[in-house]
Amino acid sequence: MLKLFFSNQLYLVLTQALVAALAAMVVVMLARKRGIHLESETLVAMLRGIIQITAVGSILLLLLRAPRWTSALLLAGMIVAAGATSARRAKGMPGAFRVSAWSIAFGSGSVIALMTWLGVIDTAITSLVPVGSMLITNAMNTNGLALNRFRSDVLAHVGEIETALALGAEAKNSVSPYVQASFEASLIPAIDSIRSLGIVWIPGLMAGMLLSGARPVYAAIYQFVVLAMIFAASGLTSLVSTLLIRDGIFTTAQQLSLQPGR
């Protein structure tokens, strides 16, 4: 319907963005009625999102003619930003940024490197950066979920953890049930995405390929390839981050430093 009112492509896209943002704000207002306040966080996140993605779009335009190594630089920058974003989900946990950045770098970096070397991901900037960013974003989300779940599980089970320590357990053994639970919980979205592929959703990448004239079967298989890579990157990230953060919540004398109210 919007196309009836806008013949200019730029105005049309901006109006589409505004309408989509309004839909999101309606949900925020509904949540507000139930006493859940997400207004400022959502508004800031959406404003940041639109500015950032427009900036990246413009940079990609410039990078079309840039040398290929610049994509590595761009992806490294994304990893640092992803580390900072998901570390916010682990308030009060010592070294959350360091753990997040290293885990995302290892998880998504190793999958991107391997898949690029094998030729699954094309080395062209226009392919490597968008696909790489998908892996990094999903690794970031998984890492945030893992750290958040681990933090809340530890805080809810301080008594059990300290009882295990008091009985002579190694620090890492005292929290192993919570490491496992947070790893499993963090991968639920990635597993469900693969499980529901094509039935519940047709992802954006596939839709884009179809719109640009690719054969549906090729688009579909490449979408599966991307989701499998996302799962690998997310799983590796979560494995590493839960192990690193586990050691960070104990002192050298094996005392639990993550405590309610501290």
Partner: protein, 230 residues
């Protein structure tokens, strides 16, 4: 390693303090515990009793001062070994999901040892729970759970048993059951105990000496009859 050795007391604290964000939890606590005695630490809520016990088990780090276990500065003992030696029983039992037997096996398993069936039965009989080995801990009463918690700590063969308000969450009957289990252990094994309690009558029933804490400081320290009636 430079190991300093003193004699006599099994446990001795020296100017032990813990301050967190300018809040004094324990201040300059100096006292000793002799082998085989029961020392009660009494005082009102918030006086630092549990904080002191956590320092003894090194679940928290002293901001100054230290503890000597059999004459050795406890910072020179590996934390896991120290915690096995100074066995802590919490106010809440925090039993691990599974059977009573699995809970009793937990401590020894941490150092690669497996408790024999006889040892399990002996531990359970010490706390008055003979025949409970295969029971699921989810089906135990509060008093039974606390006695399993005591037996689980005893499975580590501690030098000193640290009891943090072990009966404060229990009804009168369960409280008596846990108390008599503690008395039996002390009488039969001669085990050294430090009992934290806000209940002075309980302290008088179980301990020979007491230490009164107020705002983290040791107010009085000596034979129970003198200290509690001062």
């Amino acid at each position: 390693m430079n190991v300093s050795v003193t004699s006599d007391p099994i446990l001795r604290t020296e100017h032990l303090s813990r301050v967190v964000k300018e809040k004094v939890l324990v201040e300059d606590a100096t006292f000793e515990v002799r082998t085989g005695e029961v020392l009660a630490i009494v005082g009102p809520s918030g006086s630092g009793k549990s904080s002191l016990l956590r320092l003894l088990n090194r679940l928290d780090e002293p901001t100054s001062g230290t503890v000597y276990v059999e004459g050795i500065d406890y910072r020179q003992i590996a934390p896991r070994e120290l915690r096995r030696k100074l066995g802590l029983v919490n106010q809440r039992p925090y039993l691990f999901p599974g059977t009573v037997e699995q809970n009793l096996r937990f401590g020894p398993l941490q150092r690669g040892e497996t408790l024999s069936q006889d040892a399990i039965e002996q531990l359970l009989s010490r706390v008055g729970l003979k025949g409970y080995a295969s029971r699921n801990v989810a089906n135990l009463s509060g008093g039974e759970a606390q006695r399993v918690s005591v037996a689980r700590t005893l499975a580590n063969s501690p030098l000193v048993l640290l009891l943090d308000e072990p009966t404060s969450a229990l009804d009168e009957t369960s409280k008596r059951e846990v108390e008599s289990a503690i008395q039996r252990i002390v009488r039969e094994q001669g085990l050294t105990c430090i009992l934290v309690t806000h209940d002075t009558a309980q302290a008088a029933r179980l301990a020979e000496r007491a230490l009164v804490l107020e705002a983290g400081r040791v107010l009085r320290h000596g034979p129970i009859s003198e200290v509690l009636h001062a």
